[in-house]
């Protein structure tokens, strides 16, 4: 059953079009993450779904019911805000019950609901405190409690973790995921953090410039980005994009990333679409983990290799990143933790082309 459907949604503020024809269809129980850089329209989309901003055009259904013109309180939604938006003058209990109070729910029922949610989120001991007396993580929990108590058909999260420090953010991220697994309510979650998107979502909508660039499950987004924007936005460090020329030798197709044949990267799974591009300029996309330095022991996969100059190395402990120069391009490679190629030296890097992508340099869409 559809929990949320958005059709042909446009939002214009004066002459600025913030959302340009957005369509989304979300099934019950999904965890959808809207991700994109600031100004891409993701927060506007969330606010329009909540009824806090008005769409210029288009229709929205929540739980199978059209909600255009319905005020936020009657949309059967709950929302968690970036700043938490806890009412400063009320206690935690007051914050949680305020919505029920507005709807005229009986006192006894209110207290029962508070008790249940407080237990679920383990905030029972905080109920009589005020927001100013809580830590960041505790405020976050209370904000979630206020949303949970509504038992809505749809949860909306507006960058709920961005005000937390790095360590707490990871903890709360796991907790939100656990919560979703437990209660199973549909969630729409806005973030600019691609790691949050990858770890939480059942499906990700990558947004840019008022459009949804791609709407798919995390693995598809990562492995088969629809265009260069998605390829660069998702993944850290981002996918390498090298200008190349497609050449054919017999049935083999290769991408030449430098001036001569020594820089040709053979592409094993040539598709029909690829063949049409032979002899033309393309952009070759390769994730950093697909470029590595063989150590002569484990990494002895037979495969293409590419000579490159090492310009800089960044050991992070779990791995060592290297910035290398291939032809005119700078490329990130991900190596085993103890790899220490000398800066300035030239080495032969192994390339795994199984997951390489090709993009049209003009439209930036993926060819294969």
């Amino acid at each position: 059953m559809s929990a949320l459907s958005v059709e042909g949604l446009r939002v214009r503020f004066g002459s600025v079009e913030v959302l340009k024809s957005v369509d989304l269809a979300i099934e019950s129980g999904e965890f959808i993450v809207l991700v994109g850089p600031s100004g891409c329209g993701k927060s506007t989309l969330l606010n329009v779904i909540a009824g806090l901003e008005q769409a210029t055009e288009g229709r929205i259904e929540i739980g199978g019911r059209e909600v255009t013109g319905v005020p936020p309180k009657d949309r059967d939604i709950a929302m968690v805000f970036q700043t938490y938006a806890l009412y400063p003058a009320m206690t935690v209990r007051g914050n949680i019950t305020f919505g029920m109070e507005c709807r005229g729910v009986a006192k006894a029922e209110q207290q029962a609901a508070v008790a249940r949610v407080a237990k679920l989120l383990q905030i029972e001991h905080l109920l009589d405190r005020r927001p100013a007396q809580l830590s960041g993580g505790q405020r976050q929990r209370v904000a979630m409690g206020r949303a949970l108590v509504r038992d809505p058909v749809l949860f909306l999260f507006d960058e709920p973790l961005s005000n937390l420090d790095a360590k707490l953010r990871v903890e709360m991220r796991m907790e939100i995921k656990r919560l979703h697994q437990r209660i199973g309510t549909t969630m729409v979650y806005v973030t600019h953090d691609q790691v949050e998107a990858m770890t939480l979502a059942t499906r990700i909508a990558v947004m840019n410039g008022g459009h949804i660039q791609q709407f798919a499950d995390p693995q598809t987004i990562y492995d088969e980005p629809a265009n260069l924007f998605v390829a660069r936005f998702m993944g850290s460090p981002p996918m390498n994009a090298l200008p190349a020329k497609l050449v054919a030798s017999g049935s083999e197709i290769a991408a030449m990333v430098g001036p001569d044949a020594a820089t040709a990267v053979p592409l094993p799974n040539a598709t029909a679409a690829m063949k049409g591009w032979v002899g033309r300029e393309v952009v070759l996309g390769i994730r950093p983990e697909c470029i590595t330095l063989p150590d002569g022991k484990q990494d002895t996969r037979p495969g293409p290799s590419l000579p490159a100059t090492v310009e800089m190395i960044e050991p992070t402990g779990a791995e060592t990143m290297a910035l290398i120069r291939v032809g005119q391009s700078e490329v990130m490679a991900r190596m085993r933790p103890d790899a220490r190629p000398a800066v300035g030296s030239t080495a032969s890097f192994a390339i795994d082309t199984a997951k390489a992508c090709l993009f049209d340099p003009k439209t930036e869409s993926r060819i294969a």
Partner: protein, 317 residues
């Protein structure tokens, strides 16, 4: 409500239907919005409406009662050519310059001195600022005594033995306006001090450290670094004092009543005189409109300046 913990993934229920509330239940909310709108509209209507009303009357020959027989710019030309109006603007120029420069100078000096980690700061600040809490009528009345030659400072010093001492500014046509300046500085310099001090205190402490490491002397530090760093506040203070100067009325009335002769009469006094002493509503309104125009000459550039500054992303609210 009780489903929260037991709903399983993929089984979410359909949305609850919109509660069947009658449209009557929305009326109180609608009503409060309307009331709020009416209040805001009234506030706007008051400012715009009364301004236009006075402008309208300034083009008529109204005397004690409003009459809508239009005479064009007659009152404006007559006023501009009248001696009293010219003298009033000359007085305003002298008074305005003296008051603004004096209050700003004293305020800045006191702010910088207080900023030197002194003892008794709170007491001194309270003393410097208390005149702000007083009415101009009180200020004018008391300074009129102090500056009055027969009962004030002159008499006091003569009583100490200097029997030839003279301090008769208040009754001197050329100097009486400076008495207004003194009283106004007394009243408003604490205000300038408080704003400058707040500005200096809001500066990053590292600025002081950096200047000290650069070996700047205290005087140089303030003149070259601190004061330029708070220049938006300096501009604000200047503008606020300037509009205070243009609007000054009660002080003159209590201190000198515009005299001797018309030596301390300001445009505001002329307006009142036309409107309520001579009963010339039309002419008085024309004078008031010209007063407003003088004010706009000051305020409009300031408003534009503020807007530009904010547009550049500088300066907080």
């Amino acid at each position: 409500m009780s489903e929260t913990a037991i709903t399983m993934p993929g089984q979410a229920r359909p949305a609850r239907p919109v509660p069947r509330r009658s449209w009557l239940s929305e009326i109180p909310d609608l009503l409060t919005r309307i009331v709020a709108g009416v209040i805001a509209t009234a506030a706007v209507g008051y400012v715009v409406g009364f301004t236009l009303w006075t402008v309208l009357i300034s083009f008529t020959d109204s005397t004690l009662l409003p009459e809508y027989n239009f005479v064009g710019f007659k009152h404006y030309w007559q006023l501009l050519n009248s001696r009293i109006w010219q003298v009033a603007y000359l007085n305003l120029t002298i008074y305005g310059l003296g008051f603004i420069l004096g209050a700003t100078g004293v305020g800045l000096l006191l702010a910088i001195l207080i900023d030197q980690k002194i003892r008794g700061e709170n007491v001194l600040r309270t003393i410097y600022l208390y005149p702000m809490a007083l009415s101009f009528v009180v200020t004018g009345t008391v300074w009129a005594w102090l500056l009055n030659p027969t009962i004030g400072v002159e008499q006091f010093v003569r009583g100490l033995g200097w029997t030839q001492f003279k301090f008769g500014w208040l009754v001197d046509r050329d100097l009486a306006i400076y008495c207004v300046v003194i009283a106004a500085i007394w009243q408003a310099s604490g205000f300038a001090m408080a704003l400058f001090l707040a500005g200096l205190r809001s500066l990053d402490g590292d600025l002081y450290k950096a200047a000290a490491i650069d070996g700047a002397s205290p005087a140089r530090m303030y003149l070259r670094i601190m004061v330029p760093a708070i220049w938006p506040i300096v501009v604000s203070v200047l503008v606020i004092l300037l509009q205070t100067a243009i609007k000054t009325y009660d002080l003159v009335r209590a201190l000198t009543a515009g005299g001797p002769g018309i030596a301390t009469t300001l445009p505001t006094n002329v307006v009142y005189d036309y409107m309520f002493q001579r009963g010339l509503m039309g002419a008085g309104s024309a004078a008031a409109v010209m007063l407003l125009l003088s004010l706009l000459i000051v305020l409009l550039p300031y408003a534009i300046f503020q807007r530009l500054r904010r547009g550049k992303g500088g300066g907080h609210g």
